[in-house]
Structures are given as structure tokens and as C-alpha cells.
């Protein structure tokens, strides 16, 4: 048993203990040290916290939905066009994943920021589609969140598509089913477990995004990860206890999405589809 000690010490001291201490601190009064729900009540009553929560949820919600739809069709296209596509397209997806963080924020400011050249180009051309668009708002950043959701979602969905067997498609064609009909009756039902699993990961990734948001909005942004970080360091250092409560709420949000997805997965898996 002795050789396992380093692993368990590491995971206890830097995973379990911090986690439990954070949970317990989230129930502790900052001044008296007594047990309290006040930190949570504050999170759900104080306006700026409510806005923070809804901002984060809204951005991630829209970004994940849009990214998943795009990723679905991308994965489908990669799957349907065969092995050569995989060879040139997979590296692109892998590569773009490594562009997240500062680089992608920089690129988007360059393209569609206030002075972005795409915006300028459109103005020259007389297209006004981007006129009222402002990248540096809580809705304006959604395209960036979508952007890094696409390769992540695509890479995770692809194995699911690979599991949709060619024989199913051929059998359904011979039995008189159209291609669209096939995807609705056979393809998507069999992909659902993968779709749900991917969704929960893309969501967790999106709602915990820190670096991109920080460079665009700075430390005062009303977004969960930045708000949490700010409670402990930075310009607006505030109550660490409330920060703990916000962290627990963030974890709970991720867990709820995950549990819902797993529940859905289990129901579907019971009905014959393999996970």
C-alpha cells in the first residue's frame, strides 16, 4: 500500500481538503465564524450576483446550443466523407483547441472588435449587419464561446458518429427510408448518449472560461469565474466566504447539467442504445 501514499496525499491535500474547506467556509459567517446561510442568500439576492449568475448561464446556454448544432453537422460531415477528410480536418480541430484563451480573444478583437477589419470591410461594402454589434458586451462575446465549443464538441461527437454503422443506413434505405428519416429514426436516437455527454463537457468548459473573459472585460466582469477569482485576489477583493459560496454554486450548476445528461443517457441506454 505504501507506494500509493504520494498519490493519496496529493489528492487529499490539494483536492479533498480544499474542497471540503471551501464548502464549509461557504456556510461560515465572515466575522463571527458561526454557521450561516447568509452567503448563499446574498448570492441570490444581491443584484450584482444575480446578474453575474444570469450572465454566465445565458452566455453558456446560447453558446453551447449553437456550438453543439454546428459541431453536430461538422462531425456528421467528417464521418460521412470518409477517411481522407479525417486526415486533414482532425488536425484543424485539434489545432484550434490550442488557440483558446488570449489568442482567440485577440483574433476576435482584430476581426470584429470596434476597429476590426471585417467590420470595416462590411462598412465599405455598405453592409450594416455588424453595425450594432459590440464584441465587448455579455451577448457580444457569445461568438467567441461558440468558436471554442465547436472543435471540442466536434472531437467528442465524432466517436459517436463512428459508432453509427453503415449497415443501419443501408438496411434502412432498402426498407424504404429516406436519408433524413434515417437520421431522425435511427441515427440521432443512437447518438443521443454521445450528444448528452458532449453537451455536459462543452457546457462545463464554457461556464468556467476565465482567460478569454478576463482579457476582454478585465477583473470587474460580471461573470462567475471572474467574480469568484476576484473575491480572493485582485482589485475588488471582497468576502472570501461569498466567493466560496459562488464556487459551490458554480460546481452545482455543472453537476446539475452533468446529472441531467447522465440521467437522460441512462434512460436511453436502457432502451437498447449502447452508451
Amino acid at each position: 500500500m505504501a507506494p500509493t501514499i504520494p498519490f493519496f496525499v496529493l489528492s487529499t491535500c490539494f483536492l479533498a481538503l480544499p474542497f471540503f474547506s471551501m464548502v464549509s467556509r461557504s456556510f461560515t459567517d465572515e466575522k463571527t465564524g458561526a454557521f450561516t446561510f447568509d452567503n448563499y442568500i446574498l448570492c441570490f439576492t444581491k443584484n450584482s450576483y444575480i446578474i453575474t449568475l444570469t450572465n454566465s448561464l445565458r452566455i453558456s446556454f446560447y453558446a453551447v446550443i449553437i456550438a453543439m448544432i454546428i459541431a453536430f453537422f461538422v462531425a456528421m460531415a467528417v464521418h460521412s466523407t470518409g477517411i481522407t477528410t479525417r486526415k486533414w480536418f482532425m488536425p484543424i480541430m485539434n489545432m484550434s483547441q490550442n488557440f483558446a484563451g488570449f489568442p482567440i480573444a485577440f483574433a476576435f478583437v482584430l476581426m470584429i472588435g470596434k476597429q476590426g477589419f471585417i467590420r470595416l470591410a462590411l462598412e465599405y461594402a455598405g453592409v450594416t449587419a455588424l453595425k450594432d454589434f459590440n464584441l465587448l458586451t455579455y451577448n457580444g462575446v457569445i461568438p467567441i464561446y461558440v468558436w471554442f465549443g465547436i472543435p471540442l464538441g466536434g472531437l467528442l461527437l465524432l466517436p459517436g458518429f463512428e459508432a453509427v454503422r453503415n449497415e443501419w443506413k443501408e438496411a434502412s434505405v432498402l426498407l424504404g427510408c429516406s436519408s433524413v428519416g434515417f437520421w431522425f429514426r435511427i441515427g440521432i436516437p443512437n447518438l443521443l448518449p454521445t450528444i448528452l455527454g458532449t453537451l455536459s463537457i462543452v457546457f462545463a468548459d464554457s461556464i468556467t472560461t476565465y482567460t478569454t473573459a478576463y482579457i476582454l472585460f478585465g477583473g470587474t466582469a460580471l461573470l462567475l469565474p471572474i467574480r469568484i477569482a476576484n473575491m480572493f485576489s485582485g482589485d475588488l477583493k471582497a468576502s472570501e466566504e461569498v466567493g466560496c459560496a459562488l464556487s459551490v454554486i458554480l460546481i452545482l450548476i455543472i453537476l446539475i447539467v452533468m446529472i441531467l445528461c447522465n440521467l437522460g443517457k441512462r434512460i436511453i441506454t436502457k432502451r437498447g442504445v449502447s452508451a
Partner: protein, 337 residues
Amino acid sequence: MSYIHFEKVNKFFGTNHVLKDITIDIEQGQLVSFLGPSGCGKSTLLRCLSGLERVTSGEIYLDGKNVTDVDPRRRGCSMVFQQYSLFPNLTVFQNVAFGLKMQKKGKKEIETLVTEMLETVGLSEKRNQYPRALSGGQQQRVALARALVIRPKVLLLDEPLSAIDALLRKNLQIEIRKIQKDLGITTLFVTHDQDEAMVMSDNIFLFNTGSIEQSGTPLEMYTMPASRYAASFIGHYNIIETEKFNARTGRSYSCKTIAIRPEIMNITAKRPEEENGLIVMKGVIENSIPHGNIIRFTLNMDAFHLDVDILFDATKVFVDGDTVYVSVREEDVLRID
């Protein structure tokens, strides 16, 4: 015109010529096997008939109509695949009902037809199970039911039994043949297993790299292989170069190759009496393997080896190293060019 007719069908995959000018006829109600090693084009021809593959050139007629360019959905072909072709998210019942649903049949009609078909394949009690819960053999029977329930013009079986273990395979062969005969449904069966083709078919087409090497009833194919390739694929023919055979037996055949079935020869310890038309050779037993009720002896004839099958008989137990005499009638020696 016959029920199914292929007219000069050619198929290329890139530069690979997989079907070469195939012209064949198949009669209604028959079970016909496409036999050959993997990569010989037999599956491709089947898929061309179903419409899953387009032919590069040539024409296909089914039931008097040219179906070469007809959508696979409307050709009236059903197919049973090698494996994994059941829809995992649908129950056995829903799987079988799928094709009928596509034909927009009424609920009641679907219920009756599917129930009847599940009875035919003996899976009535599994109707609400998902494919995952079934064994490989059961899954293939569901696949068969799904293909048959829409009353196709042709049933296509693409090596449906090759993923199933030997004992079960024998039973399913008989079962499929029986259902096919009862329903009188024209069936094309792709296999690489000559025994399977023998057991099941009315007619066999033997494929060789994109062409038909030989066709005929199982008996014709077995007793009269027309080429060295056919002889090596069907039965367990001993294939001997004529020169070596002539040298050993003192005959003067002029063909290229000699083919002799192993079970048609006899082995004796003493030289049998001279007789008109009887060829006798001396050889040494090199190996013997029991195969159920027969024993296969491998004999060393110096220039070649000979496999001889003998019904198990206590008076004919030879051991390795014994010198024996092999005799065979002249008319049983096939001369192939």
C-alpha cells in the same frame, strides 16, 4: 426473360475492375449462391442488384423491368447483412415493423404481419426485447424477419451466417432454406463457404476475381469442376500436375492437370488384382487424421501428395510409414486444362 437478369455488368472502384462483363440469369423462386473467396466481387454484384452500389456499365433487369437506375428504396430488394444491422434503439417488433411503417401500412396490418413473421422465425416471445439482449443467431433471425416481412421481390443474403458459430450455423442454414421454400421467395445468397453453398442452393455461381468461373447445380459443381480453380474451391480435390501423375501411373494423359476427389479412391495393403480401367499406385502413409466417421490419409507418392478419405473401418487401420496401394477408376479421374 428470366426473373433476374444481369446484362454485361461492369463495376470499377477507382481503377479496380471488380465486376467484369457479368451476364447471368436467375429463375423465380430459386435460391442461388454466389460463391467465392473474399474480394472476388460476389458481394458487389449483390449490392448492385439492391441499388446500394451503382453499376459502372451494363444493365440489371428484375421481374421484367430495367432497374439499373431505380432508387434502392423502390427496387423491392431486402437484404440481410453479415452482422450488426439491427437498429439498436428499436425493439425486435419495431425492427421488423420498420419497413412496413415506411410503406405507410395501417397499425393493425403491421401488428398482424409482424406477429406472423416473428412466429415464422420462432422469436415471438422476444418481440419486446432490444437487439442487445439477443444472441447472434437470434439477431440474424430478426434481420431475416425484417427483410421478409415486406414481401420483397428478391431476398439478398450477404454472408449472413459467417459471424455465427458452427453448430448454430448448420441449424440456421436448414431453417433459412425451409422458410425460403415455404414462401417461394427468390433468394441470392453470398458465401465463401462451399459446404454452405452446397447445402442451401438450387444453383451456384462460382466467382473468380470479378468473373463467373462456373455455374450449375451443387451436384454438377461437385462432380464436374470445369477448371483447376473450381476444383480447388469445391470439394477437396487432389490437384496433380499431369506429368507427375503420368510418371507414377504409366498413363499418358495429355491435359494440364488431374483432379481426383479423396473419397473416390480406395486404399489396400495388398496390390489389388489387375482390372480394366483401374489405376493403381503405390504410396507411403505419411499422416492420418480422423474426421468424424472418415479418416483422411495423406500419402507420399514421391512427386506429389495424395489425400484419401476412407470410411472408418477396423480392418483398414494403417499407421504412418505403411506402404499401401491406392486404386481409382479411370472415369473418376478428372482431366482439366
